[in-house]
């Protein structure tokens, strides 16, 4: 596509969103649903502008992001470590596999009531829920990437005089990096879901609590406006992670596909 048509391509991406908004508007005025429960887009927009003028959105979003990212970082570090150990130690894998397999399909939000008992209402409970949810995709992806390391790369490094410890970090982890970044992308999505779910159940602050509160009070235009803010922030975080991944994986085959 010639550069002069670039803005058009962006316009085409907006079209589905406009159609979605139009359908929403029509549905809201169709009489099929009570317009009090489904406010039309102009009302939501007005609520959004009102919200953005005040500090609620920014303050609560900052709290939620803090919880989501803390859980993500802790879960990421622990997940990479556990995945690496599982891939390299048969003994460790034998112990951990049943636990990982057992908790893999468990919805982590089911554990939030338990965390409330342990840690009370607030950040620790939310961070724990995020941590657990992020842990599993990180373990699975790291394990897969480390196990797929070609034997000849390890042998080459051994013949050059590198220790097993060096090889763990500089060969196995480096080889697993594309998979780890995939795991991180999955975990990023989970981190928002779990942080907000935990806030709805057990918190006095955060965007999840705000959404829940507006819903309880029947302020649906404000509720949808807050949800819209979460969608935008989650989308931008995902894009930022993708850009970061592309820049650190320039050596990887996947970088070819993206540059064309």
């Amino acid at each position: 596509m010639p550069p002069s048509l670039r803005p058009l391509r962006w316009a085409w991406r907006v079209v589905p969103l406009l159609i979605f908004g139009a359908l929403w508007h029509l549905l809201s005025h169709s009489g099929l649903v009570d317009p009090a429960f489904l406010p039309d887009p102009p009302k939501i927009l007005a609520a959004l502008i009102d919200l953005l003028r005040g500090p609620q959105i920014a303050d609560n979003l900052a709290i939620t992001l803090f919880r989501a990212f803390t859980g993500l970082v802790l879960g990421g570090i622990a997940g990479v470590w556990i995945g690496l150990m599982m891939a390299r130690s048969d003994k460790f894998r034998a112990y951990v596999t049943p636990i990982v397999g057992g908790t893999y399909s468990l919805p982590k939000s089911a554990l939030i009531p338990l965390f409330i008992l342990w840690f009370g209402i607030g950040s620790v409970t939310a961070i724990c829920a995020v941590f657990l949810a992020c842990l599993l995709p990180m373990i699975v992806q790291t394990f897969h990437g480390v196990r797929a390391t070609p034997q000849v790369l390890v042998w080459s490094a051994e013949a050059m005089g590198y220790s097993q410890r060096d090889i763990l970090r500089r060969i196995f982890l480096r080889h697993a990096l594309p998979d780890i970044m995939t795991g991180l992308r999955i975990a990023l999505g989970f981190s928002f879901v779990l942080a907000i779910s935990a806030e709805m159940i057990a918190s006095t602050s955060g965007i999840g609590k705000l959404i829940f509160m507006y819903g309880e009070n029947g302020a649906y235009d404000y509720m949808f406006a807050a949800i819209g803010c979460v969608v935008v922030v989650a989308f931008l975080s995902d894009r930022a992670l993708l850009a970061l991944t592309a820049s650190i994986l320039r050596w990887h085959e996947s970088a070819v596909a993206e540059s064309h």
Binding site: P150, V152, L153, W155, S156, A157, E158, A159, M160, G161, Y162, I171, R174, H175, L177, R250, W251, H252, E253, V256
Partner: protein, 265 residues
């Protein structure tokens, strides 16, 4: 005076792999002594365990029997033995220059000297201008040049080559063989090469060992005494070259046919 200790002494090496239906014997009691500065090739039917032997000498696989280097029993991989694999084994996340520096990193020299050495090796393999490319941006021949340079960077006494040119097209393979020959004539390192290409073995080696089908044993040896200063064309068209090439080829062929016969029976 001749040094009585061989550079590499392979003594009664046997190797078996566990499989679902018991264990498979890959090597049976292989004995082979390689003198310092010798270029020895091992040829044989595919799947005969010749690469397994190389991995045992590299110290990557443990086996029955023993392998001595300079009279000392090896217990694992070491920087005295550099390896070049068929599939290049470059680190895909490092550029050409960084792959070579990775090989230099463990050598006791100042960083500036390492960087100079890397420059020099990039020049030797003719990849000036490609220093900052990643392996995926290189052709097969270029990748193998980098792999050889990275191995040379460690300055090993012994080169272990596992079908080093097997994945290259025939033109590139010939160029690489000439480069390896030149390198070997210059440095006179001890080389153990695995190949299935009989002409390649005759062109490069002092001695060729023919291995039987699985379980691999060395069944025949050929001393090659050719004038390496001749150009490739002269050598390939000479009677001496072709006579020994045919002898080795027939020997390998016998092993392959016997193996096929065993399976038919």
């Amino acid at each position: 005076m001749r040094n009585l200790t061989p550079k590499i002494d392979i003594r009664g090496v046997s190797k078996s792999y566990p499989t679902d239906g018991g264990s498979v014997l890959a090597l049976r009691s292989v004995d082979l002594a390689i003198e310092e500065g010798e270029f020895v090739s091992i040829v044989g039917p595919s799947g005969c365990g010749k690469s397994t032997l190389l991995y045992v000498v590299g110290g990557f696989l443990s086996a029955e029997g023993e392998v001595l280097v300079d009279g000392r029993r090896i217990s694992g991989p070491g920087t005295d033995r550099g390896v070049v694999f068929q599939e290049y084994a470059l680190f895909p996340w490092l550029t050409v220059r960084d792959n070579i520096l990775f090989g230099l990193e463990r050598r006791a020299m100042p960083q500036a000297e390492r960087e100079r050495q890397a420059e020099r090796l990039i020049g030797v393999i003719g990849l000036k201008g490609f220093e900052h490319r990643y392996p995926r941006e290189l052709s097969g021949g270029m990748k193998q040049r980098v792999a050889i340079a990275r191995t040379m960077a460690c300055n090993p006494d012994i080169l272990l080559l596992d079908e080093p040119f097997g994945a290259l097209d025939s033109q590139t393979r010939e160029v690489m063989q000439d480069e390896l020959l030149r390198l070997w004539l210059d440095m006179r390192k001890t080389v153990l090469m695995i190949t299935h290409d009989v002409s390649e073995a005759v062109y490069l080696s002092n001695r060729i060992c023919v291995m039987s089908a699985r379980p691999g044993q060395i069944v025949e040896e050929f001393k090659i005494d050719l004038d390496r200063s001749q150009p490739r064309e002269t050598l390939f068209l000479s009677e001496a070259f072709n006579r020994v090439r045919n002898e080795v080829w027939l020997s390998v062929r016998r092993q392959a046919v016997e193996h096929a016969g065993q399976h038919a029976a």
